[in-house]
């Protein structure tokens, strides 16, 4: 059973299509990158998968159930683009709160704070932290419990290269444990770190391939160039 299966997925907002006939699958244990410029529909697609997007037509099943059903809320974790943690609470208090909602204990909180390397600032209020630290606090809450699917909207924006490397290493570890990850980015070089890449533009999926596959089929030297060639090919069609 695929972790995500989307067929003819369309979202119309304000009379205009934000997603058009999107088809793809994500299998358990896969780390899939959702890459495209801002405004290409990445966030809308992620919101549809976690069940908070209105006016979705087509078929979208997550872990074999229709996206957004109550049962999936324990099995799917979502990190929004803007860090969605309480700025007037400490990192520890934030994690404790989300853990309590999930019915998890304090050990779990400590483990996840360490996983994103925030141990030294665990007792600081989130509004005293840097942007990167806030993003990591938000990410830590998504790691709570054992979600089978992690939907992460631009989780590495504004992080220093060392930390970014570390997070990608963790994403791969999570995938190796058999979970599926859908990670969005507007930076092409992040696509190279994924098992498979969905390239998006104007609400459509331009390409669905491995990073190597993209380079091979387009004959481009890097993923940026590959993206440009795909856009040009799409325009000339």
């Amino acid at each position: 059973m695929s972790t995500i299966e989307a067929r003819d997925l369309t979202v119309i907002r304000g009379g205009r299509p934000v997603l058009t006939d999107v088809d793809f699958r994500v299998e358990p244990g896969e780390l899939v990158g959702l890459v495209g410029p801002s405004g290409s529909g990445k966030t809308t697609l992620m919101r549809a998968i976690v069940g908070v997007q209105r006016d979705v037509t087509g078929t979208l099943t997550v872990l074999g159930k229709p996206a957004g059903v109550a049962e999936l809320r324990r099995r799917v974790a979502y990190v929004t683009q803007a860090p969605s943690v309480y700025s007037d609470l400490t990192v520890m208090e934030n994690l404790r709160f989300f853990a309590a909602v999930l019915g998890l204990d304090a050990d779990e909180v400590r483990t996840k704070i360490d996983a994103v390397d925030l141990g030294s600032v665990a007792d600081r209020r989130v509004d005293e932290l840097s942007g990167g630290q806030r993003a990591r606090a938000s990410l830590a809450t998504a790691l709570l419990g054992r979600p089978e699917l992690l939907v992460l909207d631009e989780p590495t924006v504004g992080l220093d290269p060392v930390l970014r490397e570390e997070l990608w290493r963790q994403f791969h570890e999570l995938a190796q444990e058999g979970r599926a990850l859908l990670v969005s980015s507007h930076v092409m070089d992040e696509a190279a770190r994924c098992d498979r890449v969905l390239l998006m533009r104007d609400g459509r999926i331009l390409a669905d391939s491995t990073p190597d596959g993209l380079l091979r089929t387009t004959g481009a030297a890097d993923l940026d160039a590959a993206f440009l060639r795909l856009v040009e090919a799409g325009a000339s069609r």
Binding site: V52, Q53, S84, L89
Partner: protein, 245 residues
């Protein structure tokens, strides 16, 4: 709904309050200061203070909780934490009930301090039991909180949320019988007054302070307020949409 999720919300809201001691101080001190001002503004007409004091005592928690909860909920909506919560295993009722418990506890503290200051130091006479005055004020606080939660759905910014105070609360205040006895108002205004929840909230406080025993009218007032709270919370739950554009 689940108890652990409801409690988690309530504990979190109280933690947020604890990190904001100035708001807590304002919650507790402002009503006491206002009651003191009222007492000495009517220094030569203490009878007026005795008449309207209890009404204001019921009004302060209503107004304060209305503003605090509408801004708190709006913040939860605009920072994306509500969206994240709604992707988690939590019922909308858990969120609202959690808020109600936390702000209800804050209202108890606020009301107890104000009642003690008013009766012990400012000489406010309460014919019946001061305990009933606390009950009335607490119900009024919960009513303000529930209306604040509901109306926050219609505000996109904190500026708009704060404007709901003059837009929603002041008309009820003008019509509730505090300034002019209701019988003396133009008839259409009396009808409006009849359907405004604050009318019953303020009337309940006035009756509890004046009457030695809880009369049938006071009971009706309390019942109306007590029913408006879950009604407003239910309306609030309707405005919490899991799926948004």
């Amino acid at each position: 709904m689940s108890a652990h999720a409801t409690v988690a919300i309530a504990v979190r809201v109280l933690r947020q309050l604890r990190h904001d001691p100035r708001t807590v101080a304002l919650l507790v001190v402002v009503p006491c200061v206002l009651m003191t001002l009222l007492r000495y503004a009517f220094d030569s007409e203490i009878i007026v203070f005795q008449r309207i004091g209890p009404m204001l005592l019921a009004l302060f928690p209503f107004v304060v909780m209305f503003v605090v909860t509408s801004v708190a909920m709006l913040r939860e909506r605009t920072t994306g934490t509500l969206e994240r919560l709604l992707t988690m295993p939590i019922a909308k009722g858990d969120v609202l009930t959690g808020y109600a418990i936390a702000f209800g506890l804050a209202a108890v503290v606020q009301v107890m301090v104000t009642v003690i200051v008013s009766t012990a130091w400012l000489g406010l006479d309460v014919a019946g039991s001061a305990g009933w005055l606390v009950v009335v004020a607490l119900l009024d606080a919960l009513l303000g909180m529930a209306l604040g939660l509901f109306l926050s759905a219609f505000a996109r910014t904190e500026f708009q949320a704060v404007q709901f105070l003059p837009a929603v609360v002041l008309p009820q205040l003008l019509l509730c019988g505090l300034f002019v006895p209701r019988e003396q108002m133009a008839e259409p205004l009396q009808w409006l007054s009849d359907v405004a929840p604050l009318t019953y909230a303020v009337d309940a406080a006035a009756r509890v302070a004046r009457e030695t025993a809880i009369s049938g009218s006071a009971r009706t007032d309390l019942l109306v307020v007590a029913l408006c709270v879950p009604a407003a919370l239910a309306l609030g739950a309707l405005t919490l949409r899991r799926r948004t554009g």
